[in-house]
Symmetry: C2
Amino acid sequence: MTETIYVVGHKNPDNDAISAAIGFAAFKNAICARDGIDAVYKPVRLGPLPVETAFNLERYGVEEPELIERVGEGDKVALVDHNEVRQSVDGIEDAEIVEIVDHHRIGGMVTAAPIPFTNRPTGSTAGIVTSLFRAEDLPIPQPIAACLLSACLTDTVILKSPTTTPFDHNQVAYLSTLLSVDPVEFGMELFRKRGGESEMDIDKLVGADSKEFAYRDKVVYIAQRETVDLKAVLDREDEIREYMKGLCESKGYEFAILMATDILAEGTQLLVEGNTAAVDAIFDITCQPGGVWMPGVLSRKKQIAAAVLGA
Amino acid sequence: MTETIYVVGHKNPDNDAISAAIGFAAFKNAICARDGIDAVYKPVRLGPLPVETAFNLERYGVEEPELIERVGEGDKVALVDHNEVRQSVDGIEDAEIVEIVDHHRIGGMVTAAPIPFTNRPTGSTAGIVTSLFRAEDLPIPQPIAACLLSACLTDTVILKSPTTTPFDHNQVAYLSTLLSVDPVEFGMELFRKRGGESEMDIDKLVGADSKEFAYRDKVVYIAQRETVDLKAVLDREDEIREYMKGLCESKGYEFAILMATDILAEGTQLLVEGNTAAVDAIFDITCQPGGVWMPGVLSRKKQIAAAVLGA
């Protein structure tokens, strides 16, 4: 009887959790076919498909992994993109974990028997899965390569995230060549699908990552929106300013800042409401309609808040 | 300042724990040299050198790893041949674990950050280290190859242990070719150094692995000596028989058996004292001076004790 092994990413799956599961299952099935092993690796998921994943799967004609809620005794499971029990599928304690591929910290997993555990401190699990195909000289079918490339690019924010390593660049170059695509364009398309910055609620757009800081005897508000689609954010400047003006009035902030940080261009467009003269003085800039472009500014804590606190 | 990273095997080190540490440190130092990384990996050990390890290191001019007792805050440590805190060097909780290479079960390790963790369900850690050199196309210096081959062969009992996989065969073939040695002869020499069956105390030779079993309303004694040097064991037949005769008298055993199991030849020489007629009847053999060779008999539990218990 053919044995089924579930390949599962973490709960609240992101693109890497799902796409790496698809890729790893394809890798293991290729190994089984080559070595005459009677087993089927089946990718599954623990939550809804992210927008960009759904888009990418449909584009390349890849079947959506089945949604499962739990596993149980007698089930065999391979974990990708996580290695901690509490991030894993319900019932995992009763199942048999047969393999792990991940890029996170080591999280206390215990198994009864030795299993393959491949962890690398690199940008994405999909990149590691790509390297497994390559180490075994196994061809990567185009749709699988597309899944892997998509996850390499979303998990590394198009190779700009601080977790990105030369290893990631190497895998992305390999997959891009295989697919004859430009990796940055390929990644931007996914982020545009995901971002939704044209449509999202203004309080999410501005407020999702916001903090209050002390400024002299006042309080100020500094929000940051990290984006790969700065234009979509700036197209909503009027709404953003209206929202921040309201915050200054209702909360008594001396000023409110939105850092619209363009991850790819590696800089921040600064939009300010309230006491703009104070901000001008702190940063030696001139606040104006359209905002102020600050090249190289990526860190709220180190590059903006520190200056405000020291003013 | 050059950073030092300790490479450490488990407590009560065997040949794999020490030789894989030497090999992995050499591998990482080769990577550092190639990539211009200013770090030194230093193999260390947590206990005395096994006899065969000392012999092999001296033969190939490899420096003995330094004996350490503990590590502490600020130390960086790579673990080989184990991945459990309680098997590791004292103070490991305060140190920073930077990498793990192992072939045991996953044992609950927790790290703060992502690290490389390479675990494979295969015969030896040294075989995995060998594959790391090969994956990076890095040459293995002869003395390092000798350390790795020695550990591949002792940990797999010259590729006969049930943990042995095609992966181990592959690494052993590679290393043997590199060293121009016959792997079985190379391994036998190590086991002869280790075994010491010519000199060890008779109660250890016979009694190290012994159990009592019920036989009708009597009790019997069945010991097993797994060896790669059957001749050294059988050369002491008179002593062995004297010792077992003494056991039958002092403990009232109906009979005493020593299974002298030749791992390489995959069979057992059976030496019996006491009621030999009963043993003859159970196994349909004729006990005699020199013992009885039973080809294919390796398991005390399944092939000897089960027959006694069922008699």
